[in-house]
Amino acid sequence: MSEKVKVTIDGITVEVDNGTTILNAARQIGGDIVPPAMCYYSKLQGSGGKCRTCIVKVTKGSEKDPRPMPKLVASCRTTVMDGMEVLNITSPEVLEARAGVVEILLINHPLDCPVCDQAGECDLQNLGYEHGLQKTRYEFERRTFERIDIGDKIQLHMNRCILCYRCVFTADQITNKRVHGILNRGDHSEISTYIQQAVDNDFSGNVIDVCPVGALTDRTFRFKNRVWFTKPVDAHRDCDHEKCNGKVTLWYKGADVLRVTARKDQFGEVEEFICNTCRFDKKATADWVIEHPTHIDDTSVIASNHYETLKPLHVIQPNEALQAANEIELHKTVKY
């Protein structure tokens, strides 16, 4: 079944393999029309369908059956049909619904971007910036959890978790013994290792990279720093782990390597998973062969604030809700 099918997204037509999802078809076109994906991850089987940020409108089902689909659909889990027509950013209905999803994702979110390690590379922050409402309509107490150390390398900040399940799929598919999962149900669900068992698997560090928000972070990230003060550089080493090819991004501040991550593509997904030795234990320039500065997409939040500007993160500024929620924290950032 390798025949090609045609699909039109926001007026742009592309030919893709049969069985491709709308989201992946859009990624082949690229640019602004790519729906944001907070839970889907192409390298993780079974991911997607949960966050609902990638919703689009199908105005024509296919050449054979041109009826539109009655509801908005999750583009990450809907496969294209020949002749399908899809609207993403050209549909006000989609944009409104997506703003609704973002509002809902934020009601229980701590909005603590100023103190979050993920700030600057957080998908939720980007989305909140693009779709954010000026004022939150949620007036109840937010759900809170204790911060937890999962072993000595990873920290879980459950308040920030959007339950995308990516880390669970990673633990299940990339590491060989899953000790990490989801407990409880509904909005009490939480990521947990239950008895705070150290996640000491060779590949466990990858959960940090797949997390779209700052819920899973690197405890070895040396001196807390804002990513936009750091300079990413692609590098590699001859890793002797059979499944790791040692290709990484080093995040520098001055001459120091602050942290090591897998390389990410333009959709924010890691290109290849890396082992814990490369990630946590190789923090000297001498460990690595430097390639070149990492290319950062112009549209990303990191790019707009890249390198040494000392202003607070600009996405915080225009959003009153974020500002109000973070008044104290914003003051603190001055100290960085």
Binding site: E146, K177, R178, V179, I182, L183, R185, Y194
Partner: protein, 171 residues
């Protein structure tokens, strides 16, 4: 995050293990994880709650990771993850039962037993909680008592009083 309490290791009796085997035989050989929910019910019927060591043992028996058991035990509402009263009373608190007085029954129980929802009486005999629709809405208010899940319908404050007396005298 569930707390690890001081817990003594659990050893399942051979009768219990025989029941486990019987249940496991109901599924294809490589799908024995299907036995998880029924096994947890058996564990709870035996110990009146499901402790972490017991869950670990079940995981070992089914040859799955402990987290897979924790994920399931915390998803479903019937598994008690901490000790309850010998008689755990569960009163339906959903709409149709409330139309016929379920809320009154719940507050009556609270007064009568002198404990709040989820707490155990000093003598260890009783605990109670509100649960969602028990599929007996036409006979409300209703309650069930685990571990047997005996069922009581058309409750009144008097019938609840009598039920509690009967249970007290049963021991």
């Amino acid at each position: 995050m569930l707390k690890v309490e001081e817990q003594t290791p659990v050893v399942f009796s051979s009768e219990l293990l025989a029941k486990f085997d019987d249940i496991k035989s109901r599924y294809p050989a490589d799908k024995s994880k299907s036995a998880l929910l029924p096994l947890l019910h058996l564990v709870q019927a035996e110990y009146l709650w499901v402790s972490t060591p017991a869950m670990d043992k079940v995981a070992e028996y089914l040859n799955i990771q402990p987290i897979e058991v924790y994920e399931v035990a915390t998803f479903y509402t019937m598994y008690f993850l901490k000790p309850q009263g010998k008689y755990a009373l569960e009163v339906c608190r959903t709409g149709p039962c409330c139309l016929v007085g379920a809320e009154k029954i719940l507050s009556h129980l609270e007064n009568k037993l002198g404990v709040k929802e989820g707490e155990v009486t000093a003598d260890g005999l009783f605990s109670f909680r509100g649960v969602e629709c028990l599929a007996a809405c036409g006979y409300g208010p209703v309650l069930q008592i685990s571990p047997e899940y005996t069922f009581y319908e058309n409750l009144t404050t008097e019938s609840v009083d009598k039920l509690i007396e009967d249970l007290k005298n049963k021991i």
